[in-house]
């Protein structure tokens, strides 16, 4: 068996008499699976047995929800030494906590304040702007087509023909109940 550059791929056999190609075929799926699994482990943060937290229990994920501003878990779960010390201080008398310490404790528990979570993002400007741009492009394309590609309108679309057609329809008493002819005063020859 020869590979694309002309050289032999499976000329040499290895242990147990299996060819390189045969061994590759067996090893590649195993290596890919291992890499994929370890990639997911590399991305995981917390949770039991190396699994990511959201796979163990979907509720143990921090989320800022304006309609339900009570997340299940604190925002910062792994505390540094300074933060642990602050937490220990929190267990005591709260009057001893300074304003800065209170704010830091709040930020350990929550990512955003309610006001920050409810604050407008301005995304509507992107949406409106993008939509308007696409609509404008559509109009430009249409104008180009109308000017250079489409054939001329038939003469039945010009004003004189339309006027003559309306006169004929009135003579025919077209739609005399609630439509066109019902709005024409035949005795005085004018619109009602």
């Amino acid at each position: 068996m020869y590979c694309w550059h002309g050289g032999s791929v499976v000329k040499n056999t290895t242990k147990k008499g299996r060819t390189m190609a045969h061994q590759l075929m067996r090893a590649v799926p195993r290596l890919v699976a291992r890499r994929a699994f370890s990639t997911s482990l590399a991305r995981a943060g917390g949770g039991a047995g190396g699994m990511p937290a959201w796979q163990v229990n979907p509720r143990n994920v921090y989320e800022d929800r304006p309609d339900f501003p009570m997340p299940n878990v604190p925002y910062v779960s792994e505390l540094s030494d300074a933060q642990k010390a602050l937490k220990a201080k929190e267990a005591g008398d709260w009057k001893s906590l300074s304003d800065e310490e209170l704010k830091e404790l709040y930020r350990l528990k929550f990512h955003k304040t309610l006001a920050e979570a409810e604050a407008p993002t301005g995304e509507w400007k992107t949406v409106v702007g993008g939509t308007s741009l696409i609509i404008a492009l559509t109009f430009v394309l249409y104008i180009i087509q109308k000017k250079y590609a489409m054939p001329a309108m038939p003469e039945t679309c010009n004003y004189e023909w339309q006027e003559a057609m309306m006169k004929k329809q009135l003579q025919m008493r077209n739609n005399p109940v609630e439509g066109l002819a019902s709005k024409w005063d035949y005795e005085n020859n004018k619109w009602k």
């Binding site: 309609d67 339900f68 038939p154 003469e155 039945t156 004189e160 023909w161 339309q162 003559a164 057609m165 006169k167 004929k168 329809q169 025919m172 008493r173 077209n174 739609n175 005399p176 109940v177 609630e178 439509g179 066109l180 019902s182």
Partner: protein
């Protein structure tokens, strides 16, 4: 014929079409009421600050919003079925005509009393007089007496076409090898237009139907004209 940018139905020229307009108004009322209710609910829900996160079911309201639509459907279905059977009623027709669809024109046969046959081709743009409707005018119109019950037998010679006249509330497929029957009655004199309503090839959009409803005396005169060899020759039609 419809006027430009017309949205609603054309005025009725037959009793069946009048009933169809009434039915359309009835169903449209029901639809508008339902739509208003839905929009109101949506508005109230969207503008509300409160959410009940643990809502899973509501047996009473689910029953209500199943039973009430069923009642609404009955209210719509009863007049619908009545109208459906009304369109099939044929009240002792005094005249029978045949309409045969071809690619791409209609041919008509009045064989009850006389032997009158003619083809009806769309007038091309170059042959129109000023004020004629493009894609709607034909060279030979279907002339019928007003206030007369007419049976129309619709068929086709090659592929499926559909013979339609919206102001009279008529639509019937022209199927080769089959005769479909239509009941036609024009309540007023006038000219009524329609177009082929089943895709039948390249010129499907260019085979219109024009019915000219005239007083009985005028119809008789037209029949005499059609039977007169000389005038037929000048009109290039066959008897």
């Amino acid at each position: 014929m419809a006027t430009p940018a017309q949205l609603g139905l054309m005025d009725a020229a037959s009793p069946v079409m009048e009933e169809m307009i009434y039915f359309h108004d009835h169903v449209m009322l029901v639809l508008i009421l339902i739509t208003c209710l839905i929009f109101y609910s949506m508005l109230v829900l969207i503008s509300s600050k409160y959410i009940y996160r643990f809502l899973t079911d509501g047996h009473v309201i689910e029953t209500v919003w199943t039973v009430i639509p069923a009642i609404i459907l009955v209210v719509v279905a009863l007049p619908s079925l009545k109208l459906l059977y009304l369109t099939d009623e044929l009240d002792n027709p005094q005249l029978t005509i045949k309409s045969v669809g071809h690619q791409w024109y209609w041919s008509y046969e009045y064989t009850d009393y006389y032997d009158i046959e003619f083809d009806s081709y769309m007038l091309p743009l170059g042959d129109l007089s000023k004020g004629d409707a493009r894609l709607l005018e034909v060279d030979n119109r279907v002339v019928l007496p007003v206030d007369t019950s007419v049976r129309v037998l619709v068929t086709a010679a090659d592929v499926i076409h559909s013979w339609t006249v919206p102001s009279l509330g008529l639509k019937m497929d022209a199927v080769p090898g089959r005769l479909n029957q239509l009941a036609l009655q024009c309540s007023r004199v006038g000219t009524f237009y329609g177009q082929c309503s089943e895709i039948c090839g390249a010129n499907h959009s260019f085979m219109p139907i024009v019915i000219e409803a005239v007083p009985v005396e005028v119809f008789e005169g037209w029949c005499d004209m059609m039977l007169d060899e000389e005038s037929l020759g000048s009109l290039n039609m066959k008897r």
